[in-house]
Subunit: 440 residues, 2 copies
C-alpha cells in the first residue's frame, strides 16, 4: 500500500468487504463489490435538491467517504475541499485528433491468475471512471463511465507526484535546483528532521530513510497524520496536531539510512514540492501552469487540493480532465514537444525514461513490477517497449509506451487502493493494446 | 447594509476604524484606511512558502478576514472554501475587441459632498480591484489593481443574485416556472416558513415579509446564521444550528405582509436558486453554464462557493473573471445576443430593463438610488439612459447603460460593505464616463 491515499475515502473499506493488505508486495485477493451495482446512478448518490440524507456526501461524513462513495467524490473533489487553480493559459484548446478503433476485443492474460479476458471486460472489472488511448498522437479509444465527464477533473492521486518530479527535473536541468545539494540548502526548516542529511536527488528518487508509514489499514500510521494535517480528512473536534503540510513535514524523524533502497513515501513529494516553491518563488499551481499546463492546449484548468494555508498537496492533490492528462502524457512521449513547441527539454524526458536503480527498487518488493525502477517520481518498467508510468492509488495512471507510440491515461475508483491489486488486469492489458496498435 | 455579505470579511471592520451603519439609507461617512497602504503587496499577505504567521490568511482565522485581508481573499475564494465549477463550455474564448481610450481624466462631482474629482482618482478611492468599460462592445478601458489578474476570478458577492434572477426570468419565459405560482408549489419544504403564502414573483422581486436582518454590525442578525449555515464563516466548535442553506431556509419565519415594499434580503435569492434547481433538475452551476456561461465565449470558468452539501450560494457565492463579467453585461446590453447567438430571449432582457415598482422600492429608503426599482434581482435606475445594474457589497458591479451603449464591470474590496458608501464616487463617475463616450 505504498501509495498516496486520502484516508476518508478508505475508512469504510472493511465494511465493503474489502481486505486491505498493508504490504504492496502481495497482491490482495479481496472479495470485490460488483462494479455495476455500485455506480453513482445505481447508488443514487447526490441526486435531488437536496439529496436524501443517506445519499448525501459531505466532507465531514461520519462514516467516511470510501468506496462506493469514491465513485462520486473522485470526480467532485473541489466541491468538498478548498483548491488552487492551475490555469490552462490564454490560448485556445487544441483538439486531440481522432482515429477511433474498437479495442474492446483485445485479449490478454491477467497477471498471477492467468485468467484470459478482453480489454473491454477489464475496464469494468477495474472500476474505471474513464480511459483514453492515444496512438501516434491520435485518440484511438476514449470511454467514460459513471460520474466522470470529458470536461470534469478527476483526482489524479499520486500521479501528482510525477508532475512534481518532472518540474524538479526541469529546474535541475536549468541549473535552478541542484539535485546533489542538501535538502536543507533550500529548506533550513528541515534541519531537525529526517531530511537533515538527505540530498535533493534522494528525495526525487525516494530513497529517504524516514519514519512514515503508508499502511492505511493501520489507524496509527503516519499517513493519517499527514492527511489530517493537510485537511484532506476532518481533523476532529479536539485536534491539536500539525495544521498544514509544512508543519507536518517538520515533525518527520529518521528511520534507517538514506540512499539504500526505494521506499515510496508521499511526504517526499511534499518536501520536493516545498523545494520547488522555494526555488521558483511560485506556488506549485503557478509553476505547473506556467511551465507545463499552459503549453499543452489543455481544454480545462487543472487544480490542486490545498491545506488551510493554501498550500497544494504535491503528493496527491492534482485533479485534471482525462483528455488533458492525455495531452501531458503525449508531450512526454513526444520528447517534450507539444503543438510545435518544446515544452520540456528532451534531456529531462530522457533522464526520466532512463530510470533509476532497479536494484534499489527491487528491495521494495513490488510483486507486479519486476525489474522496474523509480526516477524523478516516475515508475520505469525497463521492458522491451521502454514503458514508463505515473501511478496513483485506486487505479489512476499515465502509461507511456514509446516503442508502440502509445499513451494510455486512466482514472478509476477501484475499491482497493494499492495498484498491486489493480495491475493484474491493467499492465498486461496495456501491453496487449500496445501490440495490437503496433500491428495495425 | 441590505446586501449579501460574508461575515468573516467584516468581523474586523471596527478595528480598521470603519464605522458600519446598520442602514443602507444613510451614507456612512467613515474614516477610511489609506488604499495604497493596504494593498496586498504593501501588507505582505501570503508572501513566501509558508507566509509569516502574521501574514497568513486562513478560513478559520480567529481574527477574521475583514479588510484589508479582503484585498487578498476576494481574489482567492476557492483556496479557502469548497466550490462548484461553472464550465465555460467546449468552444474557444472569443476575444473582446479593443479600442482603448484614456478615461482617467473624466471629471465628475461626488454624490452628496459635491467634491469634484476624476474617474482615475475615484478608482483608488473606491478600493477598486479591477474595472473594465465596454463601449459599443469594445474594451475602451481596463485596469487591474493589486491582487486581481485578468484570468483570476473575483467574488461577485450579490451580483450573483442578478444571475439567479435572470435564470428565473428565462425559465419563466419558457413556461417552465410560473412566477404567479405559490413558492410551495415548487418547494413544499417551505410550507411552515415565511414563504408559505408567498409567490415566486414576490421572491424574484424581493417583496417578501420575512424576519431576516442583514445588519451585520449586529452579531445577532440572521445574516450571521445564514453565513454560518452555509459554511461561509466558521461554524465554531459547539455549533448546533442548521448546517446547509436548505436547512437554514426552512427556519425562516414571517415578519409583516408580502408584496408591500422592496426589502433586500439575501435569503430570497437562495429560495429562488432552490426553485431553479427543483424546476430544472440541475444544480445552479450546471444551469448557469448550460444556459448562459457556455454561450459567452468566456475566457475562464466561473465558480460558486458551496455549503457542506455542495449547494451553491445563489445569494452571493459566484466568482468570475472581470472580462467574463463584462461579456455577460454586454450580452444583456445587446438584447440577449452574444457572438451571433440569441443567448437570452429579448423579452427577458426587456422585462428586466422595464424594472419593478418604484413606489415599493422607495419604501426601502436608499438615499443614493432615488427613483430606482428592483426587478428579477436587478437594480433599475429609470434614469434618462435607462441604466440598470447588478450590485454586490464592497463595490461589485455590472452597470449597463443602454443609451450610451456602455457596460461597466467593477470588482473591488471597499472596507465598507454597503454600496451606499461607494455609490457617491461610482454612480456619477459612470454617468460622466457614459456622457464622454457618447460625445466620442
Amino acid at each position: 500500500m505504498r501509495a498516496f491515499f486520502t484516508g476518508r475515502y478508505l475508512a469504510l473499506l472493511a465494511s465493503c468487504g474489502v481486505m486491505v493488505s498493508a504490504h504492496a508486495q502481495q497482491t490482495p485477493q479481496p472479495s470485490l463489490p460488483d462494479p455495476a451495482a455500485t455506480t453513482v446512478q445505481a447508488m443514487g448518490w447526490m441526486q435531488g435538491f437536496p439529496p436524501a440524507p443517506d445519499k448525501l456526501i459531505t466532507f465531514d461524513n461520519p462514516v467516511g467517504n470510501a468506496y462506493p462513495r469514491s465513485r462520486w467524490t473522485f470526480s467532485h473533489i473541489r466541491e468538498l475541499v478548498p483548491t488552487a487553480n492551475v490555469w490552462r493559459g490564454p490560448g485556445n484548446p487544441v483538439a486531440l485528433p481522432q482515429a477511433l478503433r474498437d479495442l474492446d476485443g483485445v485479449r490478454f492474460k491477467a497477471l498471477g491468475s492467468g485468467e484470459e479476458l478482453s480489454f473491454g471486460e477489464s475496464l469494468a472489472r477495474n472500476y474505471t471512471d474513464g480511459i483514453l488511448v492515444l496512438h501516434q498522437g491520435k485518440v484511438v479509444y476514449e470511454k467514460y463511465f459513471g460520474e466522470l465527464k470529458p470536461e470534469r477533473p478527476h483526482i489524479a492521486m499520486s500521479v501528482t507526484k510525477s508532475f512534481v518530479g518532472t518540474l524538479a527535473a526541469l529546474l535541475a536541468h536549468e541549473g535552478k535546483l541542484d539535485p546533489e545539494a542538501a535538502v536543507t540548502r533550500y529548506l533550513p526548516e528541515l534541519k531537525d528532521t529526517a531530511y537533515a542529511d538527505a540530498t535533493v536527488r534522494q528525495v526525487m528518487d525516494m530513497t529517504i530513510g524516514v519514519r512514515y508509514s503508508e499502511a492505511y489499514a493501520d489507524p496509527k500510521a503516519e499517513i493519517w497524520d499527514y492527511a489530517r494535517a493537510g485537511g484532506m480528512i476532518p481533523q476532529g473536534r479536539d485536534y491539536a496536531g500539525p495544521k498544514s503540510f509544512y508543519e507536518f513535514l517538520q515533525t518527520l524523524q529518521k528511520e534507517g539510512p538514506h540512499d539504500q533502497a526505494f521506499a515510496y513515501k508521499t511526504v517526499n513529494s511534499e518536501v520536493l514540492a516545498w523545494i520547488l516553491r522555494r526555488v521558483s518563488g511560485q506556488s506549485l499551481a503557478q509553476l505547473l501552469s506556467e511551465r507545463i499546463w499552459s503549453h499543452l492546449g489543455a481544454e480545462q484548468d487543472a487544480f490542486f487540493m490545498v491545506d488551510r494555508t493554501g498550500t497544494e498537496s504535491g503528493g496527491g492533490g492534482l485533479n485534471t480532465s482525462l483528455r488533458d492528462l492525455a495531452r501531458f502524457g503525449e508531450m512526454m512521449r513526444n520528447n517534450g514537444q507539444a503543438n510545435g513547441q518544446q515544452v520540456l527539454p528532451r534531456a529531462v524526458i530522457d533522464d526520466i525514461r532512463t530510470g533509476g536503480d532497479p536494484a534499489k527498487f527491487a528491495k521494495a518488493g513490488y510483486a507486479t513490477l519486476p525489474g522496474w525502477s523509480y526516477r524523478n517520481m516516475w515508475w520505469v518498467s525497463h521492458n522491451a517497449h521502454g514503458a514508463y508510468s505515473a501511478r496513483g492509488i485506486h487505479g489512476q495512471t499515465i502509461y507511456i509506451d514509446p516503442k508502440a507510440e502509445m499513451v494510455i491515461v486512466r482514472y478509476a475508483a477501484h475499491p482497493v487502493a494499492a495498484n498491486a491489486a489493480i495491475d493484474p488486469l491493467s499492465l498486461p492489458a496495456y501491453q496487449a493494446v500496445a501490440e495490437t496498435l503496433m500491428r495495425k
